[in-house]
């Protein structure tokens, strides 16, 4: 039996089409994936992301522990509530998971990891606690639910749904969070739009979902989440990177912080010994068809492969991420093998869209 989130009954009641995703019975759409996609680009939509796992890390050794655990450097987030995106690497420099870590104090952090990797992540984090002899406590918070409200009107509609939340979060900057009692409101997301990710006690989730719907927020499934994140140029774990892919080859060099030479994070030696051999770039299909993951890409500089692909509702064209030789540049004409036919595509800089606008 797949796991169910605290919002499972609400999804079924709303007529969601449910699918198994990473061991969770999740909504893929509530009728039309494309309408849900446009709702997020033009107004406000919400996603049940309770299948992801929040972990609380506390203890005097928390900062030192995370500086060794993560490829990005938590030392640069010093404002309470500030968030940092990072990869967690294995010794070979492959990506165990990508995650968001929120700083609240030097001895108090919250980490949010992917659903499919959660068990693997917790085992790895505990192993690193033991290896470091770190003075920390790691507490998985399956008692919490998470709802992401995204879109240009997401914040205003959330304020309408949660009394008192506007005064507390109106001045919250992007990529920052605030705690209101047991609830955490973060101005983060995975769609390329403004909005909030709200973490709250599981027993309160269904009521908030109902109140957000009443405030005009449209329920959106995993289908729209995938097209939105692709347009926004955001990597998906297991597809655009995994345990065998270096962040340097996955378009994530910007998240690897090598500035402090004394910070010997897990995987650093491997990254230094293995400079990037590929880059992640966007593709827009010129011919008719739809790009998908794992199609062969032919460029002037050699072959590559798509890692994610879909039809973009915002661009009305098919788009993809492709891992290609380093010399491939935006503007280059390439070809993609789709079921034995070579179709024309053009390489572009990521992202494809942000804040409701097509960028390419």
């Amino acid at each position: 039996m797949p796991h169910q989130t605290p919002l499972h009954a609400a999804h079924v009641e709303a007529g969601a089409r449910m699918v198994d995703f990473a061991g969770w019975d999740m909504p893929v759409n509530y009728g039309s994936q494309i309408e849900e996609h446009h709702a997020v680009r033009t107004d406000a939509g919400m996603f049940d992301v309770s299948h992801m796992l929040a972990l609380d890390l506390t203890g005097a050794g928390a900062t030192d522990y995370l500086r060794k655990l993560l490829a990005n450097d938590v030392a640069k987030i010093k404002t309470p509530g500030k968030a940092l995106y990072s990869c967690m690497l294995n010794e070979k420099g492959g990506v165990i998971d990508d995650l968001i870590v929120y700083y609240f104090a030097d001895d108090k952090y919250r980490i949010v990891v992917n659903a499919g990797t959660a068990d693997k992540d917790v085992a790895w984090m505990r192993k690193q606690i033991a290896a470091q002899g770190a003075n920390v406590t790691l507490e998985p918070r399956r008692d919490m639910a998470m709802i992401a409200v995204q879109g240009p009107n997401a914040r205003a509609r959330t304020w309408a749904a949660i009394p008192g939340s506007e005064s507390a979060s109106a001045t919250l900057k992007p990529f920052n969070a605030i705690e209101i009692g047991p609830m955490m409101i973060a101005r983060t997301g995975y769609t390329g739009e403004d909005g909030f990710e709200i973490t709250l006690p599981a027993q309160d989730a269904a009521a908030l979902w109902t109140d957000l719907m009443a405030a005009g927020v449209r329920p959106c499934g995993l289908g729209a989440r995938d097209t939105l994140r692709l347009e926004a140029g955001m990597n998906l774990y297991g597809q655009d990177m995994d345990d065998n892919v270096s962040p340097l080859n996955a378009g994530l060099s910007w998240t690897v912080d090598m500035k402090d030479e004394t910070r010997n994070f897990v995987g650093r030696d491997a990254l230094e010994a293995n400079p990037p051999t590929a880059r992640l770039i966007g593709l827009i299909l010129q011919d008719k068809g739809v790009l998908r993951a794992h199609q062969q890409v032919f460029t002037e500089h050699g072959e590559g492969e798509t890692t994610s692909g879909t039809f973009s509702p915002t661009l009305q064209k098919s788009i993809a991420f492709a891992r290609v030789p380093l010399d491939v540049a935006p503007g280059d004409a390439v070809e993609v093998d789709i079921r034995g036919k070579r179709l024309k595509a053009v390489a572009v800089k990521l992202p494809f869209a942000r804040n409701g606008q097509a960028l390419v």
């Binding site: 893929v28 759409n29 994936q33 289908g223 068809g289 739809v290 998908r292 509702p313």
Partner: protein, 127 residues
């Protein structure tokens, strides 16, 4: 989900209408379009192509995934629906009104081996 009683069906979710001239008109079922989600691209077979029963001969791509469409019986492709490939979303709107291609069967008797509406509904319910 609707399943018109005057059509024949395959286990792989195609519907088949036997025309008065003995040719077959083929599309995907309402159940199939609903499962696929928003359809954005159709790759249809060229007229003149000979196909075997069960042979892949078209592709329906939704935002979510690509799905192969199979020839229900052996024969020759005699037409494809350009209007549908120009407006793939029309298949979501009316799966039975927007056919994909037509086949002239080698043996019209092969149609007897296809499912009737009740038989197909049982297949779809088990999906």
């Amino acid at each position: 989900m609707t399943t018109p009683a005057d059509l024949k069906y395959t286990k792989s979710h195609e519907w088949v209408r036997v025309e008065s001239d003995g040719t077959l008109t083929i599309g995907i079922t309402d159940h199939a379009q609903e499962a696929l989600g928003d359809i954005v691209f159709l790759e249809l077979p060229e007229a003149g192509r000979a196909v075997n029963a069960g042979e892949e001969c078209a592709v329906v791509e939704s935002v979510k995934a690509a799905s192969d469409i199979y020839a229900p019986v052996a024969g020759e492709i005699i037409a494809n629906n350009e209007a549908a490939s120009d407006a793939p979303e029309s298949v979501n709107e009316d799966a039975y009104g927007n056919w994909l291609f037509k086949i002239k069967p080698n043996d019209i008797g092969d149609v007897d081996g296809l499912l009737d509406a009740a038989g197909y509904e049982a297949v779809a319910a088990a999906d």
